[in-house]
């Protein structure tokens, strides 16, 4: 699997991924044609607001969506067609090749198992080692994520740990089998500010040391600025802008990204209104024709409502799906169109 051919290809390729939830009343287009890829050792932030499809995309990559979800497109992880995996292969794919850190450690961990039981189950299942060896590896992992007095805490139940330690334990579980791809779904959103920065720095350091590709879902531009190499901005189920984090945050190419930055409260003068984006995101059951951001966009023109704009590449490594990229790039930063 680690042959030269595969190593040259991206670790993850997602092409035209669509996820629909079909019920009798309506069809919800949670993801409608997301395309992005990730190199080994790279950190990509999926940035978007609630309902933008970022968490559904992440779950699709690990095949965690319920059976009633209609998944289309192509997902290739480390040379494997992730959407075609079945049975044993799928089991060792989950946890072995790809691992996930969830937002709420208290609900993601089983309250009746100790941290050690969570860890040793993973290690023994995937690595086939004995009980004692698995426990030794578990303690090593808890040390790796900087949980103090790991020998004692390994026998703690989730409720006996603070929020920050629980999230560290969850990271340890995700890392236990050396995944090539780590998926993190808002892993620091539920944490307090002083704890959030500790966990972010830990994740950044571990990612650099272990060199795994990481996809980090967040709604927080600040989190993206702290941890990402590249960002992919999602809106109404599509990636509408992508590029290196510094470039995108300094000079956004899509009006939505520009608006999101201007409406994020950050050192604005207290006597001025914030440049909010008017309106609210579209109803995923009834997506507008053409660009889904057009109804809220001050730059929208009639052509925007004809069809969804094709990707344009304003600079090397940058992509935006907007007809007016040139106009957006010319705007001063932080000013909403």
């Amino acid at each position: 699997m680690d042959g030269g051919m595969v190593a040259a290809a991206p670790l993850l390729e997602v092409e035209d991924l669509s996820v629909q939830f079909v019920t009798r009343e309506a069809t919800v287009n949670a993801v409608s044609g997301a395309t992005f890829n990730l190199k080994a050792g790279e950190v990509l932030c999926l940035l978007g607001e609630s309902g933008s499809g970022k968490s559904v995309t992440l779950r699709a990559l690990m095949r965690l969506l319920p059976g009633r979800a209609r998944v289309k497109g192509r997902v290739n992880v480390a040379g494997q067609d992730a959407l075609a995996l079945k049975g044993r292969a799928l089991q060792s794919f989950r946890g072995g090749t790809v691992a996930m850190v969830f937002q709420e450690p208290m609900t993601a961990l089983d309250p009746v198992y100790t941290i050690g039981q969570h860890l040793t189950e993973m290690i023994r299942r995937h690595k086939g080692v004995g009980r004692a060896e698995a426990r030794a590896q578990a303690i090593e992992l808890l040390n790796l994520v900087k949980i103090p007095s790991a020998e004692r805490r390994i026998d703690a139940y989730p409720h006996e740990l603070s929020g920050g330690l629980r999230q560290r334990a969850m990271i340890a579980i995700a890392l236990s089998c050396g995944p090539k791809l780590l998926l993190a779904d808002e892993p620091t959103t539920a944490l307090d500010a002083t704890v959030q920065i500790q966990v972010l720095i830990l994740l950044r350091r571990l990612q650099q040391e272990l060199g795994m590709g990481t996809i980090f879902v967040t709604h927080d531009l600040g989190v993206a600025a702290e941890i990402a190499d590249r960002v992919a901005v999602m809106y109404a189920g599509r990636v509408i802008e992508e590029g290196p984090v510094a470039d995108v945050l300094r000079r956004p190419a899509h009006p939505y990204t520009a608006g999101l930055m201007a409406s994020t409260v950050h050192d604005q003068a207290p006597d001025q209104d914030i440049a909010a984006i008017p309106g609210s995101p579209p109803d995923l059951r009834r997506l507008p024709p053409g660009c889904s951001f057009a109804p809220r966009c001050s730059l929208a023109m009639p052509a925007c409502r004809q069809g969804f704009p094709e990707p344009v590449f304003p600079a090397p490594g940058r992509m935006a799906r907007c007809l007016r990229v040139a106009d957006v790039l010319q705007q001063p930063v932080g000013v909403h169109a």
Binding site: G164, A193, I197, I201, G222, A225, A246, R250
Partner: protein, 350 residues
């Protein structure tokens, strides 16, 4: 939007003390909760001796991490949770005393907006009835209440003909929070407590609601107590800031001063944990390590000493006090380093 609405000179008949008299004075408020299964007599010291003054027309931001008691404090201020001890003085009248103001009268003048916009609305009641409910309970006729509801819905940016007949599940998060703000304003309060009122909203919607709150404050002459864990939002909206840690006030002062030169090491750590939006200015090492300790058995002396980089023997032995403050420009912190006589080696430097 804001330029067209000019604040008129406004005289409220209920304003008894005039502009100089504080809207609200909290004196040594305390509320502990008994906990089972954590040892005999174990209590959570949710609010433990909190004193502050809220002046008329200002926005006081309350910040702190989860479990520091900020929401309990908000509930104590409205007597939704009764304080164990301490006094609350609203515009010169002590709350709940025979010669003071009754709790019912207090709640007519002080309203609250909660974080969860969905669970704080009745799912079986259309928006217009929900908003009209407050005035109706307070003795207005049905027609009059309806009219008030329509006016208020316009003020919060929702067209009454379009949104009035809708049910909460037919609204987006931002629209629901606008309805909650309308509900709070329908009884004509002078003060509004906003308990994480924008925290659950997406950034683009949060900005809309913050703009709305500022406009309403100007046009309706309101006083806000704004509780949030988001320091950027608090800095933006507040005139003064109160920082809480494990049930106590650790710092209080004008927002500009607190954010420019925090005096308490905890406030400094909080500010240092703010994420920048610039990937070239990443934070290399965390300002403090560890999680906040449990409020059940808080550390002796200064409660922050277990995480403080400057902790010394005196911090364990003695609880620092907030110090004297006179007016709205005072900037005080409960830290031994601010007190030259405390015996701390860095005393007088903060």
């Amino acid at each position: 939007m804001s330029a067209t609405v000019q604040a008129k000179p406004y005289v409220d008949g209920r304003d008894r003390g005039g502009a100089a008299q504080p809207m609200l004075i909290a004196k040594e408020l305390q509320r502990h909760f008994k906990v089972k299964g954590a040892g005999k007599g174990a209590v959570v010291r949710a609010v433990d001796g909190v004193s502050f003054t809220l002046f008329k027309g200002e926005t006081l931001g309350v910040v702190g991490e989860s479990g520091c008691g900020k929401s309990t404090l908000a509930r104590v201020l409205l007597h939704l949770v009764l304080p164990d001890s301490g006094d609350l003085v609203f515009d010169g009248d002590t709350v709940g005393e025979t010669r003071g103001i009754s709790v019912a009268d207090l709640r007519r003048q002080v309203q609250m907006v909660f974080q969860d916009s969905y669970s704080s609305l009745n799912p079986r009641m259309p928006v217009q009835d929900s908003v009209a409910f407050g005035p109706m309970v307070n003795g207005k006729s049905k027609a009059e209440s309806r009219r008030i509801a329509q006016d208020i819905l316009v003020k919060v940016g929702l067209r009454p003909d379009l949104f009035g007949p809708r049910y909460p599940h037919e609204l987006s998060g931002g629209q629901k929070q606008r309805v909650n703000i309308a509900r709070a304003l329908a009884v004509g309060p002078r003060m509004v407590i906003l308990d994480e009122a924008v925290s659950a909203l997406d950034k683009s919607v949060e900005a809309q609601v913050l703009n709305l709150l500022r406009e309403l404050k100007r046009t309706l002459n309101l006083t806000y107590l704004f509780i949030s864990h988001d320091l950027n939002v608090v800095r933006y909206i507040s005139d003064r800031v109160l920082v809480m840690y494990l049930g106590q006030v650790v710092e209080l002062g004008p927002a500009a001063d607190v954010f420019a030169k925090a005096r308490h090491p905890y406030t400094q750590a909080l500010l240092g944990s703010r994420l920048s939006m610039d990937s070239s200015k990443r934070i290399e090492s965390p300002p403090i390590v560890g999680d906040p300790p449990s409020p059940i058995n808080p550390p002796s002396g200064c409660r922050f000493r277990t995480r403080c980089p400057h902790a010394e023997a005196v911090c364990e032995a003695e609880m620092p006090t907030l110090g004297q403050w006179e007016d709205r420009s005072s900037h005080v912190a409960a830290c031994h380093m601010t007190n030259a006589q405390s015996g701390h080696s860095l005393a007088g430097t903060a």
